[in-house]
């Protein structure tokens, strides 16, 4: 009997001394294997993603969309899968797109997504879409100014062309001319709820899954129309629009599901282990 107790103690104690590197190595394997041999586990489309798809589908002709957020390369697959599906959905619609970067990173990130989806091939730069330059000062300073006077805040586009020379800005200068605001940044939603929502401009967010739960109160309060949930939301959006050039969400969905199960298993094992060790300590 004593021997058995000793054996169980050693298992949980040994488990505590497992090096984190080994756990990360397993994570790497779980990510790489489904990418190499995709099992294509089926998934359903969430109501949130469906609401976004339907909303964009019903956008009237001539709508002006502002893509304003702090899209970051670090979170590329969490946010850009849905953003690229969105660009694919709007590229054949009669809409205009203004990219207003809220971070220096998004200055490269959002134009990259435009290029990859081929949005720039079917739309004319300056007339149908434009990339504004990054304005320092933070979203708390730049967003209120942007909403009331775009030409006053951004004097030129990212290539140095004055906004007065760009045809798109002949009819667009404030929140009154904006139909929709989209955010492909990981965590820009609170700023948008503060400075864009009061002007009654609908906001769609392609947010990181780590923030999806945290930002739900903004939807409940009516400040944000809807959000997609990270890679999963991206995969769902891709399913709805058919095909996007990289299909990022769909190809990564299997890895995402597998490592999510793995993390959940680790959390459960760690909790059981802690309780078992406590029990053993009490016995001793």
């Amino acid at each position: 009997m004593k021997k058995e107790e000793g054996a169980s103690v050693s298992i949980w104690s040994k488990a505590q001394s497992v090096r984190a590197e080994w756990l990360w190595l397993v994570t790497l394997v779980l990510i790489i294997v489904p990418l190499a041999v995709p099992p294509h586990v089926p998934f359903t489309v969430n109501q949130s993603t469906l609401r976004i798809y339907e909303y964009v589908k019903k956008l009237p002709d001539g709508s002006v969309i502002v893509s304003g957020g702090s899209g970051q390369w670090a979170f590329i697959y969490e946010t850009s899968a849905a953003f690229m599906a969105f660009l694919t959905q709007i590229k054949n619609k009669d809409v205009k797109l203004i990219i207003f970067p809220l971070s220096t990173d998004s200055l490269m990130f959002e134009p990259w997504a435009v290029k990859v989806t081929g949005f720039d091939k079917v739309k004319e730069y300056g007339k149908d879409w434009v990339v504004l330059n990054y304005v320092p000062g933070g979203a708390d300073i730049t967003l209120p100014a942007f909403m009331t006077n775009i030409r006053g805040l951004c004097r030129t586009d990212v290539y140095g062309r004055p906004l007065d020379e760009l045809p798109i800005f002949k009819t667009v200068n404030s929140y009154k001319d904006i139909t929709l605001w989209v955010d492909c940044g990981a965590n820009s939603i609170p700023s948008l709820a503060r400075y864009v929502a009061p002007y009654k401009v609908p906001i769609l967010g392609f947010v990181h899954s780590a923030y999806y739960g945290m930002f739900q109160p903004y939807i409940a309060a009516g400040q944000v129309y809807e959000m997609t949930n990270g890679i999963r939301g991206g995969g769902e959006y891709e399913k709805l629009v058919g095909y996007t050039p990289w299909n990022l969400g769909t190809v990564t969905m299997d890895s995402y599901q597998l490592y999510s199960i793995y993390i959940l298993a680790l959390v459960i094992i760690a909790n059981i282990g802690t309780q078992m060790l406590k029990k053993e300590e009490k016995k001793q």
Binding site: E78, T104, V158, G160, S209, A210, M214
Partner: protein
């Protein structure tokens, strides 16, 4: 034609991960390359920004904007120990403007907006599908319990006091659960997302995507 940035990107990613084994010259090379590239990028963006900011002065003749421009240059006094007080003026103005806009936005969106949202959720408990009704009810209960934890000025006594004590204790658990979920979400969510992004970037690059 091979895009030279793809092998460079892959090499930097692998060199960064070499830190998992131990710190090595390979890791230090990746670290310094990244920092210098980030600084270079910031400088370039800064130069572009300066060009845009000067556009209304140089081309449109809006000379009134020379005042904020001069205020901006006063920041440079921070580098000179005896003249550092001069830099406090632009810093004070920037902080004042920043705080004013932030407070307005926070009160409107976070305080009033969220309170109204909570009331609206309460109104949607009756007549909603069971799942929505349960979520809304739970949100309201958890919010009230959590708020009771921050009641410092008046502490109810008597019969209501014991009810309050229960709410206080549950509020503590709600806050702990929320903080745990937030930390777990942030660390695991972002950590794994970045890891996955790097791996997929390498695989996609090898497959020939730009």
């Amino acid at each position: 034609m091979i895009n030279i940035w793809i092998p460079i990107g892959i090499a930097i990613a692998i060199a960064t991960w070499s830190f998992l084994i131990k710190e090595s010259p390979l890791f230090r090379w990746a670290e310094r390359t990244f920092i210098s590239a980030a600084i270079g990028h910031t400088v370039v963006v800064g130069v572009y920004t300066l060009r845009d900011r000067y556009y209304p002065i140089t081309v449109q003749g809006q000379y009134l904007l020379l005042i904020p421009a001069a205020l901006g240059y006063l920041y440079l006094f921070v580098l000179w120990r005896r003249g550092r007080w001069v830099a406090s003026y632009p810093i004070a103005i920037t902080m004042g403007v920043g705080l004013a806009t932030q407070v307005r936005g926070t009160i409107d969106a976070d305080f009033l907006g969220q309170t109204l949202g909570l009331i609206r959720e309460g109104g949607r408990i009756v007549g909603s599908p069971p799942q929505t009704a349960f979520t809304n009810a739970l949100t309201i209960i958890v919010t009230l319990f959590s708020l009771s934890y921050f009641l410092f000025t008046v502490r109810p006594k008597g019969a209501f006091g014991s009810v309050y004590d229960g709410m206080y204790k549950l509020g503590q658990y709600c806050l702990l659960a929320s903080l745990g979920a937030m930390a777990g979400n942030y660390i695991l969510g972002t950590g794994l997302a970045v890891t996955m992004a790097t791996i997929i970037r390498i695989i996609f690059s090898l497959q020939g995507y730009g």
